[in-house]
Symmetry: none
Subunit: 232 residues, 2 copies
DNA sequence: CATCGATGATAAGTATTTGTTTCATCCTAT
DNA sequence: ATAGGATGAAACAAATACTTATCATCGATG
């Protein structure tokens, strides 16, 4: 379960988000002031920080700057900034200070969830720590985002790589299309198209897999897909 | 068949949705006023409530709040709110009040269906919760939708799996053919044919069963079928 | 701002499942 | 035992789900 720290003096919003994020397997914690927030970072070691710009004591930019300056303490904590106004200058300043993304208030909860997933994915911290099971014929180097199939490096796109990693985390689990979409895109994305099928097809192709006699990705008719690579 | 209650004073929209949802195995009922709506909830025990924000008497937020407040009466009924304007603030307020999702009008019917599915999925209305009795020689893993017969994984189609699960929920119960048809297809399906017999036959075959000396599925002549697997 | 690659949508083609028909066989009541 | 409806299962047909080629779109890159 992902731990999210929210630094925002609007207690109401904090509770709301806590409740909302819980639905997406994220545990949120709220700090009402920057000083409390910084404390909680050390204790909680959250996976992501949601930081409001308007804060008591000092503003969010200040906090962000501080966290980045003391990276020895706080690490490369991903930061999502919330700003009251959708002003472009805010955005640039925020990004320059090292925030990973920015979201103008008011925002849609769904949008927030989507961005959180994006950041977590991008920050790679996510991917490298994931528990990838060893599969015969496949060598994954998460730090390099590199996959070798029978000693040959594969040229995978972001989505293809993510899909493969997801499969390798749960060999023999049958994923429905919804599940895959949600895990890959981070939102309750609905499928009005064969996007997942297409993605699977492309990955299969690069893995040298055929749908009829699959070595890795098996189609489970009427349900979804299963990764069946022989485990080492 | 899922029961959906719609509280909306636009009768036209209600009829339209009722018709549309029927295609997705959802039976919709329309209440034109909040008071009628609340009454119908008690009677119908719907699986989901679609609630318009603009209503006579009191608005949708009020209704939502009331339902959540009286959860002892209404339970944790999932609520999908329809708002006239796609205003973000509305969304936040609604979520705060306990609605499970939001959909701004006008919306696409399929988008509605998608969100309904999401909510129902989230609210844990899942097949995996069904109470499957342990049967000697059969191992079922509902989360993976996998069945093992004497340690060997069976390759079952959706219908075959559903039929088997149904049987395993009620060992020794004799099902008539219409009963099976209704439980599997969720509607009062007319028996034009011997679809059930064929299905049973195919499942039997995969279970290694013979109709003469059945290990699992016994034919009750003139009545239907009984699952007789030895219970553990 | 033009290009390129990645991803999403569409649609034609293919495969699989599910329903129907059929007929041989089985059961039960005469 | 036999007639007549009920059942099993094979073969065929229809419906449904999947694959993949192709095109459109979007965002990144220079």
């Amino acid at each position: 379960m992902k731990q999210i720290l929210i630094i925002d003096d609007d207690e109401n919003l904090g509770d709301l988000l806590t409740q909302y994020l819980a639905r997406y397997e994220m545990q949120a914690h709220v700090a009402l002031t920057p000083s409390k927030g910084l404390e909680m970072i050390k204790k909680l070691k959250p996976d992501l920080l949601i930081l409001d710009v308007m804060l008591p004591e000092k503003d969010g930019f200040e906090v962000c700057r501080e966290i980045r300056a003391k990276s020895s303490i706080y690490g490369q904590l991903p930061i999502l900034m919330l700003t009251a106004h959708a002003e472009v200058t805010d955005r640039i300043v925020g990004l320059e200070l090292g925030a990973d993304d920015y979201l103008p208030k008011p925002f849609e909860p769904r949008e927030l969830v989507a961005r959180i997933h994006n950041i977590l994915r991008r920050s790679g911290d996510d991917a490298s720590m994931r528990d990838i099971k060893p599969i015969k014929g496949l060598d994954v180097d998460p730090s390099r985002r590199e996959v070798k199939l029978d000693k040959v490096v594969l040229d995978l796109t972001t989505m293809e790589y993510e899909l493969l990693i997801l499969f390798m985390q749960y060999p023999n689990k049958t994923f429905t299309r919804d599940e895959l979409m949600n895990r890959l895109r981070g939102i309750d994305a609905e499928l009005f198209s064969r996007a997942v099928d297409t993605l699977v097809s492309r990955l299969r192709h690069k893995l040298g897999d055929t749908s009829k006699t699959p070595r890795f990705i098996k189609t489970v008719w009427g349900r979804g897909y299963t990764f069946i690579g022989e485990q080492l």
